[in-house]
Symmetry: D2
Subunit: 151 residues, 4 copies
Amino acid sequence: MAGRHVQVSVIGSGAAHEAVALEVGRLLAERGCVVVTGGLDEVMAWALRGAREAGGTTLAILPGETHAAANEWADQVVVTGIGHARNLAVAASGDAVIAVGGSWGTLAEIGFAMRLGRPVVVLEGGPAVEGVPRAATPADAVDLALAAIAR
Amino acid sequence: MAGRHVQVSVIGSGAAHEAVALEVGRLLAERGCVVVTGGLDEVMAWALRGAREAGGTTLAILPGETHAAANEWADQVVVTGIGHARNLAVAASGDAVIAVGGSWGTLAEIGFAMRLGRPVVVLEGGPAVEGVPRAATPADAVDLALAAIAR
Amino acid sequence: MAGRHVQVSVIGSGAAHEAVALEVGRLLAERGCVVVTGGLDEVMAWALRGAREAGGTTLAILPGETHAAANEWADQVVVTGIGHARNLAVAASGDAVIAVGGSWGTLAEIGFAMRLGRPVVVLEGGPAVEGVPRAATPADAVDLALAAIAR
Amino acid sequence: MAGRHVQVSVIGSGAAHEAVALEVGRLLAERGCVVVTGGLDEVMAWALRGAREAGGTTLAILPGETHAAANEWADQVVVTGIGHARNLAVAASGDAVIAVGGSWGTLAEIGFAMRLGRPVVVLEGGPAVEGVPRAATPADAVDLALAAIAR
């Protein structure tokens, strides 16, 4: 990975999880990671906001056909045009993946990330999936994810 | 749905589940359904085989770029070229979805199917996902899936 | 290709080309081919109608997330959910591709078909693309396409 | 587009066009644009190199399932996993698109870009497509593309 920064995808949804997403984004940026999300609202927005406010770089991978749908904390915007199939790109673009809250789309992303061998950490409150490590706090999730990449 | 047959996608993997997949495919064909799978081996092959042997119609939705990867029980072959993202097409193309065994890719398909509002039934032995109905036998799974479509 | 019928994708658009699309679909069905299109209106509908009325089998590969968008002449319906990227699946699913009229989306499909080594024939009235064979009539287009598959 | 930089996708292929791609990338970076490509070799690499060497930001949108395929001048790397369908994402992610050389995949990208209303400029040596503006030099191509975005 010489020449590029480690990228971590933050997946999930739910307004109740925005503060946690903000913290995850901030911690990742402080550790020098590019933060990647699906680029829309809730968890996808707050993780990018946390990263941006900590001086990090953010990447939004959108499902639709226009740049305009990206939240305001996205530095680079990828317009995939492939709808929910962009969940594969979000999962695959992370050197690791952290789930914050989330529902069915998040489950699809966890499935893809595990299928492709990306380390996944689910924060408490996210989907319970057998065989996927969980973390109690944003700091623990970030530590686990970065340790898994380093291995 | 006038003018076309009900389509049911059978998802999953694992050689241990082939006999069950055969039975699910057979039952679906006997009920007049087109059986859809990802078109490769194991569960994807045996569900199509069961349907074909019962006189049904089968549809394979492949991840790669050639028709040649399709198993021999596929009547129509869709070559998507989009890799694992074809899991979205498999899930979406079913009026309902039945999971037989399976691993991470199956989890992605269940996530997509639920996200798109397709009824999903997981046969015992398949992934445990909170909020997704389970069935103990192929006959129960087919009954549940077709009843959900009828609603 | 033992065990399945030859599949020919008919691509293109434009109400002015519907009668030609109908004829292409009819001729392909009479030659025993499954006819594949993008499943929506105009050329995509009339090619399937021609095939259906000649007793053939038809396959629609849709861009959206519901079966309902398929035209009434589609036997099997693939719901890809990937928007314009389904053009790749339409191009790749044909053992050969025939273009009838068409605009920018058709150009993308011709590009993909040529990239994947599928024989392409453009009927007069379709996009002029250097290096892609043209035909003056539906019968010539079908002859050329099937001859190319046989080679 | 407040809050993000203008993004221009450079598409095409061919070792003969690398020097031109380098110049296009450099000029775009000097004008403050993020340069987007498909992230592999030839034109995709040299456009990113030109941008990077001019102090710009670069974005690679890969077809495969790993980050490792990205050329060394990619700052952010999107791993789509969707094969040639990532051409849609490359075309759509540009506020404008410039073609340098190229073959069938480039034709697909031009088709998608035009379909989605992105301004496209083809440099001499690239595919001749009726209705798509051409430019004789990198400077002219960049001027045309940025003027079209401004409108």
